[in-house]
Symmetry: C2
Subunit: 309 residues, 2 copies
């Protein structure tokens, strides 16, 4: 796929992506200030776990998806960028909180995350739990106070976030994965858990995009289709990477878990991943037209998967 | 103190208190529905930890404080009751989540809570963590969607809740208590931690009351004074109970912790508790006048402490 993108466009695209990432990093750092007290380990762990080097895929996706719905040069395009960056930061905090908890001894019991000691190993389990709670609360606080956005919209965004995290969302996905992952699951059950673990957060991102951009009613289900397909593709990509030596996550931690890879084998999963990606691209075309920045970003995320395929 | 309350008034008061508690219990049960799937342990633990028999002190306080600011029979008195009950339920969920986490092995490592096995012992540590996260998210969702309340007010309530839980609030109190509790602390440090552990949530309750009742600007600091004094009094009461055989909490779990009781001895703490209570009552009189229901409730909470003193 990368071959389709000509070098000039790619360099403009890379520049834009760099801008978006820089805006997100800067805002995250503002929203999670250093406490100035070195004994304040929770504040330190909040920063370290959220600001650790990463692709910022979720917030980048949110910003590109929102900007793509607002015409360039329109008066409110700067406002939308700022609001999308704030929302993206909230989503990144939720994501970081979920990783801190997933790594704990009572969950996946991981020692490394992106090559660094996990939060509970570095700061203690008590700090890890409190860090996750504080990040979650901060995320809700950020969403509730986004400036220049109608209060009604802000309450809707808080509601979306609450449902995304709660017992019908990420919490349920993590629970099903922990408790049911070890037994043999059929394809439907795996797809459901995958959707709760990753698709729900992508769904929330796209709903947030729809809410702040004032997009048309008929675009909402298309954005949700995109999120669902992306979630399935991403979970397959993640399961494939778990078996791959150059992954930056703790390798083989899914050993013994019932995944699409253990059910179908790598080749079939790669073909299914390609199908989900193609459906995701189709949904994007219907909303954003051909050659949108967000479609370019989607190709970039999965470039490696495609090259390996 | 109890001697001042004549039997007739007390029985009307008991009836009103019973009504408020019943409304809270019923609404909590609606907001935390049974999942219908017995394997859904998180849903079960959310209900059990929140609906466990308890005094519902925080939500009762919230409802009485809000109703006291609205004249009886005023058109919106029913609406205020409903909104206060919803807010009270959110506060009770936050409180329940904090107890589930406090009991975990990496925190206070408690085996019993109100005579029952703690959530992590009954359901596992993973379920305990996920239950707390789900309760927290549910609380934010409930606050964001309270009906017949201006969206601006709802976003302010979400902000209050986020600050209350986060790294400047309950999280910080729990961290300071865990990490600094074992070393010798002076009175100022103990008062600060006590305020973060209990005063902040009372402060949030009174700010919520102020926000939904449309009370006067000059009443806000008075309600905050009341909350601060109540928080200090309550933490002292709790520390005294920890040494008392007929307490329903795990006895002696503060052994070795630096508290006002270990610093000053029981008698001096009882005298200080009485001073904080008297300041709390004074603040209530300035807002609610003499003989308010909420002042009656305050006396009821601390009746036992006074009788022992």
């Amino acid at each position: 796929m990368a071959g389709n993108v000509d070098t000039t466009i790619k360099s403009g695209f890379a520049g834009r992506l760099g801008d978006v990432r820089a805006a997100i990093e800067a805002r995250l750092s503002e929203l999670l200030p250093e406490s100035g007290n070195e004994r304040d380990l929770v504040a330190l762990a909040m920063r370290e776990s959220t600001l650790a080097p990463g692709k910022r895929m979720r917030p980048v996706l949110l910003v590109l998806a929102a900007e793509g719905l607002v015409e360039d040069g329109r008066e409110n395009s700067r406002t939308i960028r700022r609001q999308a960056v704030d929302l993206g930061c909230a989503v990144e905090m939720i994501h970081a909180a979920s990783l801190v908890l997933d790594d704990m001894p009572c969950m996946d019991n991981a020692a490394l995350r992106r090559g660094q000691p996990t939060v509970h190993l570095k700061f203690g389990e008590d700090v890890a739990v409190l860090t996750a709670i504080a990040l979650l609360s901060r995320a809700f606080g950020v969403v509730a106070t986004i400036s220049d956005l109608a209060a009604t919209t802000r309450t809707e965004l808080v509601e979306v976030l609450a449902n995304t995290v709660g017992m019908q969302g990420l919490v349920r996905g993590q629970f099903q994965d922990l408790r049911d992952g070890q037994r043999s699951r059929n394809a439907d059950e795996i797809a459901l858990t995958n959707n709760l673990k990753t698709g729900v957060l992508f769904g929330a991102i796209m709903d947030m995009v729809w809410l702040i951009s004032g997009a048309r009613e008929d675009q909402r289900p298309l954005l949700q289709n995109f999120a669902m397909e992306l979630g399935q593709a991403f979970q397959m990509y993640d399961d494939l990477r778990d078996r791959c030596a150059d992954s930056d996550k703790d390798q083989g931690k899914d050993d013994g878990k019932s995944t699409f890879v253990s059910l179908y084998g790598e080749d079939k999963v790669k073909r299914q991943l390609a199908l989900h990606l193609s459906s995701a691209e189709q949904a994007l075309r219907e909303v954003y037209g051909d050659d949108s920045t967000i479609a370019g970003y989607l190709r970039l995320i999965f470039e490696k998967a495609a090259l390996n395929g």
